[in-house]
């Protein structure tokens, strides 16, 4: 048993616990009115486990991350992880039918869901703490006892094809999918998470079973349990439930970094919509890249909060090119993605597109702080840097309010993090300078090419 090993390493690497000689267990004894405590360990079968005790509500949240996503698919198996996500949740195991699972879920007052991405598939359940044992056993059953049948397989394919149509009807969701598909040509990340229609239609029980047996193994998973329990009791329960699952070595899956996009890609779609939608994507730092902290600050300054820089560029003064703007940053294992989302009047598409790209390109020369502006202009300059940092401090606090969100984050981090040096998020954010923002602006937004997706009304 490698008790605490990897997670302890992570946290000690962050500098805080080690520097202050604090052990979580001794410093924060569990109890109904105590601070939360953290525990981590790895089972002999390779399953990584993180327990976070918190008593704000009588709930327990269990999240399993599986190291499987589009990164592990081929053209022929495109969408197989997403397919498994559906099947695992709804189609039954060797012990229970899909209907029985659904009824069990309801009887226990559970929220039950899953998500698939480029790197990971995540399976989550949240329910009253008195049903903790059910939560663990349910997740074990669905993840490790899958029963594949041709009839259920064909039924779920139809549901997924409906989901694909629904995504393609949604301008922003489809625009986001197209950004990913075009930003990483030749790389597994380019495949749509939900799969290519023909590949989904062609999936067989053998295909799915092969992928499932290779990828859904304890050594390729992390389990986070967050909620109203005692650490010692939960540790024993997790070992009791998941300990007997046989260990299988994970498949080695080397994943290269994607090559830079050679040329800007423009995609124009016509839909039966009244508003125009513009989605602009560019590659960014990956999950383990130290640039990620500045990237978080940068998207706050550019496209989040009350009056971000893109808002000023596109709506400031007499210009009123857009109705809304927001910017996101997603960090994957081997790549990152910046995306700007705009809604606007169709007549402003060309001007808004041009101005947005120009603003992004200009980040390397932009001022982010009043301190960088001199003379009378300082009075009218906005303090984007400090504002962005405070926005992120708020995000930390908001995250702390959601047990399921914490579970999701911890399980995901356990599989994506590759750094023994660790992180100290808020200190990194606090230490980010305007020069850091310009530097990553130059690196990712000035030099990189864009994928630009326009969704505009059909001519009537």
């Amino acid at each position: 048993m490698m008790k605490k090993a990897w997670f302890r390493l992570l946290l000690l690497g962050l500098g805080l616990a080690a520097a202050r000689g604090i052990d979580a267990r001794s410093s924060a004894p569990p109890g109904p009115s105590s601070a939360p405590v953290v525990q981590s360990f790895t089972l002999p079968n390779g399953l990584r486990v993180i327990l976070l005790e918190r008593h704000n509500l009588p709930l327990i949240n269990v999240v399993a991350a599986v190291d499987a996503g589009t990164k592990n698919e081929t053209d022929a198996t495109s969408g197989i992880t997403h397919f498994l996500e559906h099947y695992v949740l709804f189609r039954g195991t060797e012990l229970r039918s899909g209907n029985q699972i659904a009824q069990d879920i309801r009887r226990h007052g559970a929220y039950f869901n899953a998500r698939t991405g480029q790197d990971l598939a995540m399976f989550e359940i949240s329910l009253p703490a008195e049903h903790a044992d059910f939560a663990l056993r349910n997740q074990k059953d669905i993840l490790f006892n899958l029963k594949l049948t041709p009839a259920e397989l064909e039924a779920e394919k139809e549901v997924i094809l409906e989901e694909i149509r629904q995504i393609e009807d949604d301008p922003f969701r489809f625009g986001t999918a197209l950004v990913f598909q075009n930003l990483f040509p030749g790389h597994p990340y380019q495949r749509p998470v939900y799969g290519r229609v023909q590949a989904v239609r062609s999936l067989t029980v053998d295909d799915v079973d092969r992928f499932y047996r290779a990828r859904f193994v304890p050594s390729a998973m992390a389990l986070a349990v967050v909620g109203d329990f005692k650490i010692a009791e939960m540790e024993a329960r997790v070992k009791d439930v998941f300990g007997p699952v046989p260990g299988v070595p994970p498949l080695a899956a080397p994943l290269p970094k994607p090559a830079p996009l050679p040329k800007t890609v423009e995609i124009e779609l016509e839909r039966d919509v009244e508003e125009a939608y513009l989605v602009i994507g560019a590659a960014g730092p990956d999950y383990n890249d130290p640039d990620q902290y500045a990237a978080d600050v940068l998207i706050q300054a550019l496209g989040q909060g009350l009056n971000p820089m893109l808002n000023i560029a596109l709506r400031g003064g007499r210009r009123d090119l857009i109705h809304s703007v927001q910017m996101s940053y997603t960090a994957l294992k081997k790549a990152g993605v910046f995306i700007v989302y705009l809604t606007l009047d169709p007549k402003n598409l060309a001007a808004a597109r041009k101005e947005t790209v120009a603003t992004l390109r200009h980040v390397r020369n932009a001022n982010f702080s009043k301190e960088e502006v001199f003379g009378e202009e300082r009075r009218y300059a906005y303090e984007h840097l400090e504002s962005a940092k405070n926005e992120l401090r708020m995000a930390v606090q908001q995250a702390w309010e959601s047990g399921l969100g914490l579970g999701y984050s911890l399980a995901m981090h356990a599989l994506l993090n590759e750094s023994a040096a660790g992180i100290d998020y808020l200190e990194r954010i606090a230490g980010t300078t305007a020069q850091d923002l310009r530097k990553i602006g130059a690196k990712y937004l000035s030099r990189n090419e864009f994928v630009i997706v326009t969704v505009k009304p059909k001519k009537k």
Binding site: R106, E275, D296, E386, S387, A395, V396, L406, Y408
Partner: protein, 436 residues
């Protein structure tokens, strides 16, 4: 897009614990009710799960207080009442990372504030300054009307939202509940600055407003800030007039609406009128909604899992003071549109005829109770729920009474209610998709 932030935030939060920077005990405390000197009601709750303060400023009236032909006035007024008047204040709010938003509902409107608690006093001071002396200028009004046009277009672009709007219109017609909170082209043109000033003057008065605050600040500190910042707000203003009552929904409505949209999927939706709201119907509606279409194991789920008609199937209850609607919706490929309509109709007829089984009622109780906890774990969600309950006349304290009252629902009661509201000949049907 929020996942990435929460991921890093979680790491930081866990680190803080390991480093010994421990927050105070993680417990939400009981609700407190008080009133400021000017008559403004305050509902507060201490919650140390984070160092954030959430404040909801609620104004009774909403769409029901809009004069005929002035649809959109409630939203317009509420939004303009907190429109930041100058760059200094924009800078100030940006520096404090203040989050604020405005929404108008059928029976009230709400201003939502959220910030790090260390900034709450300063932010509240500036905010009340704006709210006390809002700028209702022509430029601001025109700009906001354009934004509201845009919001209506976004609603039309989303089939689910467009279907919801069509059902409300079907049941409530031209009454306050029947139109968009963003008004219409004609109603917005009809609204002048004087209308906005008048609406503000009548309804933005302490006796007609309630503050809901959820914060980690200790009780006396929070009370002091609210007293200092809001206690003088429009002190002595005359009481607000009572909005005219909204007619109960047209409970005999039965019709279908076909909205052509060149989309890849067709939305098929049925809705039924709900009676005027009471604490009992609130609970019964929650049970019905949950049993009918809230995920795996509910009645509509078979349309997805067995009949393979859709990815998304759901039931949704919209509850307003004088009535509401219960919608059941799915989206399917256009070729299956009619098959989906027939299947949905059959599922609803079965539900009305047979009602719930004892096991289903037990499961619904467990689900609804757990959802109450989960859905209100975050401060912003809880403050919104408390405000909604207060504005709908159920009282914020109903939040705490809800689990016990839910336990009192009997099989006979719920099945009689289902039979009453889901009468097939009283349905409104909406289909949005390619022309047949």
């Amino acid at each position: 897009m929020r996942r990435r932030r929460s991921l890093l935030a979680a790491a930081a939060a866990v680190l803080a614990v390991w480093a010994g920077a421990r927050p105070a005990p993680l417990r939400a405390e009981e609700l407190k009710r008080s009133a400021l000197d000017n008559g403004l009601a305050v509902i507060s709750q201490r919650d140390t799960a984070s160092t954030l303060t959430v404040l909801e400023i609620l104004i009774r009236g909403g769409q029901t207080a809009e004069p005929a032909g002035k649809a959109g006035l409630s939203y317009l007024t509420t939004r303009l009442a907190v429109d930041i008047p100058d760059q200094d204040k924009v800078q100030d709010f940006m520096a404090k990372a203040l989050h604020y938003s405005v929404s108008a509902k059928a029976d009230y409107s709400v201003i939502h504030l959220e910030c790090l608690s260390e900034f709450f006093d300063d932010a509240a001071a500036t905010f009340v300054e704006i709210l006390s002396d809002p700028l209702f200028t022509g430029v601001r009004i025109d700009r906001l009307k354009e934004f509201m046009d845009n919001q209506r277009r976004l609603t039309a672009d989303d089939a689910d939202n467009a279907g919801h709007a069509a059902h409300l219109e079907a049941f409530f017609g031209n009454s306050a509940y029947g139109h968009s909170v963003f008004g219409t082209d004609d109603s917005l043109k009809a609204i002048k600055a004087v209308d906005i000033k008048d609406f503000y003057g009548r309804y933005f008065v302490p006796g007609n407003m309630t503050l809901v605050a959820v914060s980690d600040l200790d009780e006396s500190r929070l009370a002091a800030v609210l007293r200092k910042r809001f206690g003088g707000f429009r002190k002595g203003a005359p009481p607000a007039p009572l909005p005219p009552p909204v007619s109960a929904p047209a409970n005999v409505f039965s019709g279908a609406r076909d909205i052509a949209k060149d989309s890849l999927q067709t939305l098929v939706s049925a809705a039924f009128a709900l009676p005027p709201l009471s604490s009992r119907t609130f609970i019964l509606n929650a049970v019905v909604e949950n049993t009918l279409g809230r995920g795996p194991g509910t009645r509509l789920w078979s349309l997805r899992a067995e009949l393979k008609l859709a990815y998304a199937v759901a039931a949704r209850a919209t509850q307003m003071k004088s009535g509401g609607i219960l919608e059941s919706t799915l989206e399917t490929e256009p070729a299956k549109g009619e098959e989906a309509r027939i299947a949905l109709d059959q599922a609803l007829r079965d539900f009305a005829a047979r009602g719930l089984t004892p096991d289903e009622l037990e499961a619904a109780r467990a689900e609804v109770k757990a959802q109450l906890l989960r859905g209100n774990e975050r401060k912003d969600a809880r403050a919104a729920t408390l405000g909604t309950l207060e504005m709908l006349g159920l009282g914020a304290a109903f939040f705490e009474a809800f689990p016990a009252e839910l336990g009192g629902v009997t099989l006979e009661e719920i099945n009689a209610y289902i039979k009453d509201i889901l009468a097939p000949d009283r349905a409104s049907w909406v289909r949005i998709g390619p022309k047949r």
